[in-house]
Every structure is written in C-alpha cells, then in structure tokens.
Amino acid sequence: MTLIDSRAAALRAALTRTVGQPLRFFPLVLAAAALFAAALLGAIGAWRLQPLEAPPWAYPQALVLAAGAEGEVDLAALGLALRKVANVSAANFVGRDAALADLAQRPGLASLGLRELRPNPLPDAFVVRFAVDAGPDAVEAAVAQLRKVRDVESVQFQPEAYRRTWALARLARRLMLLGAVVLAAAVVMGLSALAAFRLRPDQEEIRLLDMLGAEPAAVRRPYVYSGALSCLMAAALAVWIAAVVAAGLDPLIADLALQFGVHWSAEAPPGWWAIAFCAAATALGAALASAAIRVAIRAVRNGARGG
C-alpha cells in the first residue's frame, strides 16, 4: 500500500486495496457479514421479545382448596391471606360453581349430568402463582406456609416436577447466556482473524516508511481505513441478510410464540438500527485494523532491531 500523509490519499489507497481486489476481498467480507448477521439476528430476536415477560406456564403454581361448605368461609379474606405469603405473586379465585361448569363441559363428562349435582361437591379454590424466579426450596417453603393459612383444606403442588422444571430452566438460561457470549466472542475473534488475514501488512514498506520518517498515524491510516471500509460493507451486507432471514423466520417464530404464550412483537426494529449497526461495525473494523497494524509495526521494528 502506498503511503500517505493525506486522508483522501489514504482513502484512495484503502479503496484500491479493498474493492480493487474483488476476488480476495469479497469472500472475506461475506464471512464477516455472516458473523455480523448472526449477531444482528440475535439482537433483533431480543428486541422483539421485549417487554420480556415469562409466559403464564413458566410460573410455578399450586392449587389451594378452601375448607368448609359454601358460604362458610370468607373467601376475600382467604385470598388476601394467601397473597401475603412470601414468594406468592398472585392468588386467583376459582369458584366451585365455575369449576363444576368447566368439568361439565369437558368431552366425555357432559352426559353424566354434573350440572344437576346439588349441593355442589367441589370446593372453592385459589390458583396460587409464585414468583417466577423463586427456586424450589423457596416455593416449597411457601407451600408449607400456605398449608398453615386458616381455612385452607389442602394444597396441591408437585415438588419433584417443579424441581425438574427449575433445573431445566436454569440450564437453558445458562446455555443462552453462554451462547450470547460465544456469539460475541466469535464476532470479535472472527473479525480479528479476518483483519489479521486481510491486513497482512507489507513489512518491507512499513520498515521503509518508518525509516523515512513517516508519522506512525500516516503509516496506519490506509490499513485502518481499509478495515473500516471492509466492516462497513460487511455490516451493510449483514443488514440485508438479517432482513431476509428475519422476514422468512418471522411467521414461524410468531406462531411458536403464540403457542407458548410468549410475547413476540409484530413490529420490525426501527430503521435507525441499521445505520447505528453499520456505524458500530465501521468503528469496530477501524479499531481492530488499528490494533492489528500496531502489532505488525511493532514486529517490524523489533525485527529490524534484531537484524
């Protein structure tokens, strides 16, 4: 690369180095774009999940059956007492009549004449929902507290099932976090490797420029511009790839989210995302190229000194 004490000349040199060598340039830009697109799709997914709320099925629940016959218990006071127990986030009342009507509607039970049963043999009940982040020990302690509440006849809760679910959920959270870290590391390491490969500096030229008194910044500039330009193109390509992939996957994910009661925004991220992403990628490319070329210059100087 020819040197360069003016920014315009450095930009010309960077352009020559990048788009002037399409066979070497585009495969690397494509590889960088794939890494960027993966990161961008992850970010789009996280944005569409906002506000991040656990679906109802993700909360640990227990069924609390009220004691006594119809009209014997102050259900409002009982509901209040249940909500006061630690780690209980909600206690939703299910009346005995509603429960019986629900049973009577179920296929196979409709012909049994359940609606005619008098008096209604079912108890009044509360579906108690615990805090989503409460661990098995905390939930079991809360269940024990619920059993002690006045006018509670029994509490139906399956601790083993919840322990299994909790363990699986914890593993899934760890894996997702690990996946995000691995993806971020893959982007940075992949781009660093691409920068090191792409920006193989001309050691003879660097040695010569150093000898002739070129300012270190002027030596680095074309390489930095080249890195920034490469990442800008890769980011633009990644935005396009992410848009296409997201458009293809969106109906499938939206359907899945609906099935599992997970919030999935129908809106695409705002347009400024693309601009901000390209700007950030350009800055990242410049920073990586600058670091790579500094290492190369230091190696050249040390080599010259030893030789």
Binding site: L3, D5, L208, D210, L212, A214, A217, A304, R305
Partner: protein, 243 residues
C-alpha cells in the same frame, strides 16, 4: 522542504554548528558481545566522515543509531542538539525526514519503480503526490538516472549499481541536513565510485554532514582520492572507534 539542489557555501559560524554528537554510546543485543562500546563522535555542518571497519565491526549499527532507528543501550545520540532516544515517536519521525539514510543493500521496494521508491521520501514527509514525484525526478537526475525510464522500470530490473543510485537519490530527495550512507560504494566500480563521491562533494560543501561507511579488511585504508581530502577517517574495530 526544498529540492535536493545545492546551495552556496557555508559561513564559518554555520560550519561550527554540531549536527551529530555521540557520547559514550554503547549498543548490546542480549548476551552477545557488544556491537558498539564507548563511541564518541562529533560532526559539524559540512563534515565528511568515513567510517571504515571489517565485517561485524559495528558500522551498520552505528548508522542505525545515528538515524534514530534504534536507541542506544547506553550513552546519547544527538542530532541537531536533540537526544533521539528522548524524542516522542512523532518528533523522531519528523527528525528522520531531515536525515537521508541509505541502509545496507539500499532498502528498496523491488516491485516498485525507481521513481516511486524515491518519491516515498517526500511522500513520507507529507508532500503531495505531484510534489513527491517532482522532487524524485530532480533527485534521480542528480544521481544520473533518467527520470522517465525510472518511472517505468521496477527496481528488480535494475543492475545493482543503479539500484544503489536510486537509494542514494531517495536519501537526497528531502534535502537532508545529515546523510548516512551505509556501504555506499559497494556495488560500484572505481569509475562509478569516483562519480558518486564527486556528486556528494558539493552537498558537503553546502553544509550537509555526510557519514559514509566502507568495509575494509585489515588495517584502515588512508583517505585518498577518490575520497574528498577533507574526509575524516574513523576506524571501527570490534565496536570501538580506533585512533
């Protein structure tokens, strides 16, 4: 910056200015025998120093230190009164622009044309593309090379003598105050060596301080033509400057 043309002769006051000063310079590389030990050199404007020594006597290391390409292990190297080791990288880079350095072998980019190789010196000093080319053409003319042919021919296709001329033209291109020419005459026959030294003489008379190294086997050779009569001989042996 000016073209590498020659200006009128020096006044006495100007000639008294110390351009290059080495004091107690020592250079070591790891546990090996020191490359230079206790070197003291003072060169004023217009001085012509001829450094003679055998292989591995420390000539090239001495010139690299003078060019500020590496700091000495001990002692100081001052150019125009500035301690090169204490200068910040940018200031050192600027200082190097006023030093014309010809490394051993010329240090050319062989795939590039002679013109481009020479123009790199002014470009490195911040000249525009056109200005760099213009100065390179002047410098190539000074060393006797055809600038038009030099623009077309990659250095790899030039004979060794012409390559050395290109490297010399590059060292002259920024009109340096200090010329450091390592093994300058190695690729030349006697006639060309005389021509090259005659070419340097007016620069020296105009105030450029010149240091040239020459490889010598055995005892130092006396300073005799084609070397200029006022050339000062420094003999270097095992990293020490001899009498």
């Amino acid at each position: 910056m000016q073209d590498p043309r020659i200006e009128p002769q020096l006044s006495e006051a100007a000639a008294a200015v110390a351009v290059l000063e080495l004091a107690g310079v020592e250079q070591r590389y790891g546990a090996f025998r020191p490359a230079l030990v206790g070197v003291d050199i003072l060169a004023r404007r217009g001085d012509f120093l001829l450094v003679q020594g055998g292989g591995a006597s420390g000539k090239s290391v001495l010139l690299r230190l003078m060019a500020g390409l590496e700091p000495p292990t001990a002692g100081t190297v001052r150019v125009a009164g500035e301690d090169l080791a204490r200068l910040r990288p940018v200031a050192r880079a600027h200082m190097r622009r006023s030093i014309g350095y010809l490394p051993p072998g010329g240090g050319l980019l062989l795939a590039r044309s002679a013109l481009e190789n020479v123009a790199m010196a002014p470009w490195a000093a911040g000249a525009t593309r056109e200005e760099g080319v213009r100065r390179a053409q002047v410098a190539l003319g000074l060393v006797g090379l055809d600038a038009e042919r030099s623009a077309r021919t990659p250095c790899s296709q030039l004979p060794s003598g012409e390559r050395q001329c290109v490297a010399l033209a590059r060292a002259l291109a920024n009109r340096p105050a200090l010329l450091l020419l390592d093994d300058l005459l190695a690729p030349f026959d006697d006639a060309d060596a005389e021509r090259i030294l005659r070419l340097l003489d007016p620069f020296s008379e105009a105030g450029v301080t010149i240091v040239v190294t020459q490889r010598s086997a055995g005892a130092p050779l006396p300073v005799s033509p084609p070397w200029p009569v006022r050339a000062r001989l420094l003999s270097l042996q095992d990293g020490k400057v001899g009498p």
